[in-house]
Structures are given as C-alpha cells and as structure tokens.
Amino acid sequence: MNEVCFKNLNKEECHSLKVYRESGGYKVWHKILQGEITPEEIIDELKTSGLRGRGGAGFPTGLKWSFMPRQSDGQKYVVCNSDEGEPGTCKDRDILRYNPHAVIEGMAIGGFVMNASVGYNYIRGEFMEPFKRFEGALKEAYDAGLLGKNINGSSISFDLYTHLGAGAYICGEETALLESIEGKKGQPRFKPPFPANVGLFGKPTTINNTESFASVPEILANGGQRFADLGVENSGGCKLFSVSGHVAKPANFEIPMGTPFKDLLEMAGGMRKGGKLKAVIPGGSSTPVLTAEAAMAMTMDYDGIEVAGSMLGAGSVIVMDDSTCMVETLTRLAHFYYDESCGQCTPCREGTGWLYRVLKRMTDGDGVPEDIDLLLSVQDKIMGNTICALGDAAAMPVESFLRNFRSEFEYYIEHGRSMIKG
C-alpha cells in the first residue's frame, strides 16, 4: 500500500521539497537535464508500465504522449487536470496537499517529452488549501532552479503556472477545461480536432489527470516493468481509491490494481455500525451502481470492475448500506447532472432536467407507473448523443439503479413513500 503517489504520506512535512528529494524526487528530472534520457525512452517506459489515465477515461498515458507532434514548430502545452469534482472523488486533493512535487516533476517530464515549454495546472476553485500548497511547492522548485528557462544551463525550458476554476463540474472534461483556461464558459469542444493538434490557445496540448502526472516520476525512477508488476494484466501499478459512504473509516487508499473489493472494504474499517452492504458505486457517481453480491466478487482493476458490470472511473468507491433508499439516492445524483449540464447539447440539457423532474415527482409521492419506462427512455435518448461524456454520465446511473433495484422504484410509485425509510 502507498507505494507511488502516497509513498511519503506518513513523513512529516511530506509535501516539502526536502522530503521529496530525500525519497529520490527530481532524480529523473536531473537525468533529463543532463541529457541522459530521450523522450522515446520515456514513452517506452510509460507504455511498459501500463499506466492508464487516472482521471476516469483510462487511456494509456504513454500512447497519449506519443500523439503530440513534438517536432512541429511553435508553442505546445501540457495541462494538468486537477478539477476534481466527480461525486465520490477526493484523491487529487490529497496528492496536491501531500505530494505536490510529484505533480510538478511529472508535468516537467511531460513537457520535455512533448517538447512543451509551458504547463498549466487547472485546480478547482474551491481547492484553496491544495492550491496554496501547490503554489508553495512551485516556488520551492523555482528557487531550487528546477523550473524556468534553460534550466541548469541546458536547452530545456519549462514554466509551470496554476489556473483556478470557479465552480463547474464540466470543466473536468478536458476540452471544457481548455475553454475555461482561455477565459470562457466551460463548454466542451467538438472533436476532432483533438487537443494534441488544436488545444490550448489553438496549440498542440496534452491534458492528464493529477494522479497520472504524479505517478510518472516514480515509474521512470524504478522502471516501467516494476510499476506494471505492482498491478495486474491490463491494469498496471497502484491506484488511489477514495472510499466514502457507509464505511467505518472512510479514506483514500493507494493499493495495487487487482486488489479484491472485500479487502479494500476491510481497509476502510468495514461497514459502519454493523450496517449490511447493499450497493457500491465503484468509480464515481457516473459509473453504474453494483449490488452487494457483484461488488463482493469484484477485483479493483479496469477489467475486474468491468466484469462486475461497472467501470473503474476515477477510483471513487461509494459504499451504501441497507438503510439507503435507492430512489432518493438516484434523485440526488440526477439533480447533480441537471445542475452541472453545460447546456450545449439538447439531449443532455433537456434530458437531465427530465430525469430529475420525474424522479422528484416520484420522491414527492406523485409518481405514476409509466415513470420507470419514461426514465429508461430519456436516459437512452441521452446516451451517446452528446458532444462530451457528461450526458452518458447522467444516463448510466439511471439504467443501473433501475436494473438492480427496480422493486424499490415500483414500491415508491405504488405507495408514495420509500420502501426503506417508510
């Protein structure tokens, strides 16, 4: 446990440059500055490591970095997505607070590999404590001559800046995030062109999640194979899982991919006050909900969670016990997507409103039997019909809640009250 992003977690002043360096931090960066590693070697190591995007999409990081036209003239950018806001997710906040230098080094390495001399870390506006922590680390890195122009007399330059959000879940979508850095509403862009060709300020740009960047220095320091071996086939390395909800000790855990869910549940202290496990959302609110049986048989890796019927997402494990009313829980999630839809695509803008209003009617005791089919029909019309994944994210919980817990919805409609809460 805690071998990559969290490896210094229990040390005092773990966020400081001193502690980071004592544990081997910036060694890879120094090698790069001395011309000892080529971009191609780094991409190969990342491919070997099996690192996949930790923000939710799971795209192989090495492959993503290879898409950048590094030989082309002109400015290029690397951007870190620290706009953490998927309900259930709170791992990047802790990386920024407790290991900011790993993010800085990872971004600098990315800048070198992709020939980008400028980076931005987009931090959600509410994360003022992590923002200040990261700014402090940036200052330490500049003062130590680790960032800037022609660093250490080399031909390598890398300037890194923060950008703060202002409260919009959609800005976690990478092209919405770019729009936001440009000072606009965070509305996702149509793809293609992809950011690797036309990104920030119209220039080639690669965007990675905080945890992805923070994993890179450790992977390169010890070799891609060692990282891959920590995990299982197709899911290399460790991953941070945020375990919240009805557990005795909610917390973030960095554990090897492939760890059984039941072991993770035990690490989180088991169920709270003797409650019985009822349901688990394994990857953040956008991923399908699972029954207790499916969850207890699941391993925590991309394929293991897919076999169980859901997705790893950002590793945000929301645990629910038998006191949970699934109708009211889904209503709350539907409200979230209704609130956060950017309004650009009709199926999402209108559909999320329909989903919320129909569910609200149900929890107000005014549901009608046709509402279940209506919900399924609306979610089906959103799914796959929008520019970005927020539409799918709003649709998927609806289908899975209804499939796994349909009788609770039928009861709520028939009796006008919750089967669980009475």
Partner: protein, 157 residues
Amino acid sequence: MISDKAKEQIDAWIKKYPEGRQSSAVMEALKIVQAENANSLSAEAIQAVADYLDMPRIAVQEVATFYENYNHKPAGKHTIRICHNISCMLNGADNLIDYLEQKLGIRTGEVTKDGLINVKKVECLGACVGAPMFQIGDKYYENLTEKKIDEILATLK
C-alpha cells in the same frame, strides 16, 4: 470600481498567460472584484472587469453566470457552502442543512438579518472521505456534527 490593489492582483494573473491572452484572467478578476464589493457582482462590476481586460461585456457576463462561485445578489459576509451530494447525503448532510437553517433562522439561499451569514447548498466539493462537510471562505470543515457546527458558527464574526 476596481481598486489599485485589485488591479495589482489581476495583473499578477495576467502575467501567467501569453501576451494578448489577458482574458484568461477573467475568472480570477471576477473573484477579486467580487471580494471587494460585498461578495457580489453588480452590472457595473462586470463592465469594469470587461473594460480592464479589454473583453466584450457579454463575454464577461457569460463567465460570471456560468460558474457557480459568483454571486449576483447580496450575499452574507460569510457564505457557508454545504455539500449535499451523495457521500455527504449518505452521512446525514440533509439533517445538518435542516439544523443550520433552524439555528440561523434562514433557509438556504437567504442571508441572516445582520448580513453576516448565508447558506448555499452546493454539489460535491471533493472531500468525500470527510463527509459531511462544508466550506466557509477558503477553508473546508469536515466530519461535521451539530456540536462542531455550533463551535464553528460561534467563531464567525
């Protein structure tokens, strides 16, 4: 409308972006101006930011209304932003919202008579393992209980 101190702060943000891309600083500029003007953005404030950053007023208006962290009507000196999303809900956020409303004598969205506090229900603030939680100013308060809320409210002046 924008003080010299605020201009200095905005200029520091502008420096982060390429030349001619000062509009990238609009989100921070609006926050800085909002903080100086009783925690809310008037039409004049939005116009002033537009003028300062050489942006069309409507472009600034769009940003000011798209993002959640801007106020367009008077807010309290302290805004309590309480999360009511799933992990907090599972840990009793709704009861704490009721408790706050009773204790302060206001509904969410309202400001106390003395103008000191308003309560806003917000979506996930990314502190789910510390649920239930709220934010006041820059600070997160986690693992809230009624007793803890009493202690926190007593410190708000």
